[in-house]
């Protein structure tokens, strides 16, 4: 059994809604946009875990919160991969205990399991830890600085983290990263600028920028959605190769169920800040249990006009995450909502060993 490299527990990211001066005087309740509202999952070593959902469901915020690119407001994220120094472990454990976030026993359990709580680690240690946890961004057209050469873009993480003994060592690392990202021969690409290479190659530059720090865990935020369909699978194959050869683990964020289906090992369906269904990819796609998952799968366009399927098209759009509906947050749009759905929030219920769903339809007592 592979060990868990990431353990996310009750992760919350709330953003406070800014109020005007007068509004704050009239002492209205502070509103929060609950972008991520208590989600729990773990990612095993060498696994591709995929978060799927509509835009605004909190999937990107989750990815960023795991790397602490946005500060989580609640819950914990534990990292148990390689590259942890004893000092880092101790620092994290001491802080959690001293601040009473965890009991001493729990902190010691973490220490024994070689895990650190990403949320409780100090800023400078976080910088070191982030060398092991990197992110690939969505838009290769916007995320690369047009005034930097590809060499400078890929070398920047090394400079920021003061890694590499000298320029020659840095160059060696950059060449290796470019080669690993499939930009071969690296010398042909190094001194070019982003506008001189194609979209697929640009995304490879983004991947090289993440690889240069030799990470263990990558958050890939829609890495192929801006690319032409004809080159998407090349990038996906590259990511698979990297997993096989370097033992990488991915959190893959996408809105495209088709890509998630062919690429990921396990899949979590997110709706309005919560995971509503989670399980092995094949099981979730072929046998969805949550009405939202069913609807999402039914509307994926099929690349064949002979395949006419019944679509479950949900009415309206997702509610505002500052005003989350009571009970099950999906009930206002759910085609099979019952009375209980608007009153009580369903707990995760396991339908097979690794597949759970949060829906009252699955609860025996809810069925009348």
């Amino acid at each position: 059994m592979a060990k868990d490299i990431i353990k996310v527990k009750n992760l919350e990211v709330w953003f406070s809604v800014r109020r005007g001066f007068v509004e704050s005087l009239t002492s209205k309740v502070q509103l929060y946009v609950k972008a991520v509202d208590g989600i729990t999952f773990d990612i095993k070593e060498r696994e591709i875990f995929c978060l799927v959902g509509e835009s605004g469901c909190g999937k990107t915020t989750t990815g960023k919160a795991i790397l602490r690119l946005v500060e989580p407001t609640g819950g914990s994220v534990k990292y148990g991969g390689g590259g942890l120094t004893p000092a880092m472990m101790k620092d994290a454990a001491m802080r959690t205990v001293s601040k009473k976030f965890l009991s001493k026993a729990e902190a010691e359990a973490d220490l024994a399991a070689n895990r650190v709580d990403v949320r409780r680690i100090s800023k400078d240690k976080m910088k070191m830890l982030r060398q092991r946890m990197q992110m690939i961004f969505q838009d290769p057209y916007e995320s690369l600085n047009p005034k930097q050469s590809i060499y400078d873009i890929v070398a920047e993480p090394l400079v920021v983290n003061s890694l590499g003994k000298n320029e020659a060592d840095r160059e060696r690392r950059v060449i290796k990263a470019l080669e690993d990202a499939g930009l071969r021969p690296p010398k042909d690409f190094m001194w070019r600028y982003p506008h001189e290479v194609s979209g697929g190659q640009r995304q490879r530059v983004g991947i090289a920028g993440a690889l240069v720090l030799e990470p263990q865990f990558l958050v890939a935020d829609e890495p192929v959605s801006m690319l032409d369909v004809s080159i998407r699978s090349e990038i996906l194959k590259l990511m698979l190769d990297l997993r096989d050869n370097k033992g990488l683990t991915y959190l893959f964020i996408t809105h495209d169920l088709g890509v998630a289906y062919v690429f990921s090992d396990r899949i979590g369906i997110m709706y309005l800040g919560k995971i509503v269904e989670l399980g092995p990819t094949e099981e979730v796609i072929k046998g969805p249990r949550h009405p939202y998952t069913k609807a999402l799968i039914s509307v994926v366009p099929k690349p064949d006009p002979r395949m006419k399927t019944d679509k479950i098209i949900l009415k309206g759009e997702r509610p505002d995450p500052a005003h989350i509906p009571p009970g099950c947050r999906f009930h206002p749009r759910c085609p099979s909502a019952m009375e209980i759905c608007s009153q009580k929030e369903p707990e995760p219920m396991y339908v097979s060993q690794e597949h759970w769903v949060s829906c009252w339809l699955e609860a025996g007592e809810a069925k009348k």
Binding site: E54, G199, E234, V259, V300, P301, K302, P303, D304, E317
Partner: protein, 319 residues
């Protein structure tokens, strides 16, 4: 025949030379028909649509061919006559429509603008039409006085569709109508477009890089590569019996959620530079079946099956 495009060539003048974005494409479109134009980015599909609307940027020009729309050659029409046709008979739904609306003008006023320009009606009549249009595309008619920022992405796209339909056009060009939208909203918009097409007997050209979107909405399908149409047939014909290696590659590149779980194939390489297009068949540097003849001679678009055309040296013509 509503629209007949014959050997259309649209070029751009650039510093490095003439860019042949559209290089001799022909197709026909009947009243009430929906045609899909598919291809990778930079293959000239948007340029083809802009040529029909005569909305080319300053350095673009129609270098040859004809666009016969309702008895007149759009390639030659200019000035007031062109303005009279534009938006009244042909309208367009732009790519990234969410950003195509004027942010400081109420949506209702933005839609009445073309109605007031093209028809001799007063504002009250025009506003009444806008409310009907809103109803048609599924927006609450009371929202005509709101500003674009008050609408969500999907709703803004509906506003754009209402705007395109304002003067009851015969032909609507849709440039990537759902690309920036979520799957659920995409499904809503595609269903709306299909319903409108049937209800209003509209002719539509839908441009997309996403073959699966076109598979769901179009009767006819044309696959473009590097400024040329390489295959053209009914949507079912193209998907059930693709002839051109590029079409086969494109279809194989789609993950099919209903099918087997396997990584889709990709097409190696990049589309060519259209200033110096490769000689012979333009697809030959990326083609798995390329032979010497492909580098030397350009294959013509021939009829392979009734109504099914392909441009490849290795397909057999009907006779």
């Amino acid at each position: 025949m509503l629209l007949e495009v014959e050997d259309l060539k649209t070029y751009f003048k650039t510093q490095e030379g003439t860019l042949k974005a559209v290089d001799g494409i022909s197709f026909k479109l009947d009243k009430g028909q929906a045609m899909g134009l598919a291809g990778e980015s930079g293959c000239g599909k948007t340029t083809a649509a802009l040529s029909i609307m005569k909305l080319l940027p300053a350095n673009g020009f129609i270098a040859g061919g004809s666009i016969n729309f309702m008895g007149q050659d759009m390639a030659k029409v200019t000035g007031d006559r062109l303005r009279a046709i534009r938006w009244r008979d042909i309208s367009i739904i732009f790519q990234g429509a969410m950003n195509a609306l004027n942010p400081v003008k109420r949506v209702g006023d933005q839609i009445t603008e073309p109605i007031l320009l093209h028809e001799k009606v007063d504002e009250a009549v025009a506003m009444k039409r806008v409310k009907e249009l809103f109803e048609l595309v599924g927006i609450n008619p009371n929202r005509v006085r709101e500003y674009p920022h008050e609408f969500s992405g999907g709703m803004r796209q509906r506003v754009m569709i209402a705007m395109a339909l304002a003067c009851r056009p015969k032909l609507v060009l849709c440039d990537e109508p759902t690309t920036a939208l979520d799957v659920m909203i995409q499904a809503q918009i595609l269903q709306l477009l299909k319903n409108l097409q049937q209800e209003l007997d509209l002719a539509m050209i839908i441009i997309s890089h996403d073959l699966s979107v076109l598979a769901e909405t179009c009767d006819q399908l044309a696959i473009m590569y590097a400024g040329k149409i390489v295959e053209r047939s009914t949507a079912i014909g193209v998907f059930s019996n693709p002839q051109h290696p590029y079409t086969k590659g494109l279809i194989a590149a789609f993950p099919n959620i209903k099918g087997e779980r396997k990584m889709p194939a990709s097409i190696a390489g990049n589309p060519p530079n259209l200033i110096h297009a490769p000689p012979g068949c333009r697809f030959n540097p990326r083609c798995y079946a390329a032979q010497d003849i492909c580098k030397a001679e350009e294959p013509p678009l021939i009829e392979v099956l009734p109504g099914h055309f392909a441009a490849c040296h290795f397909v057999k013509g009907m006779r």
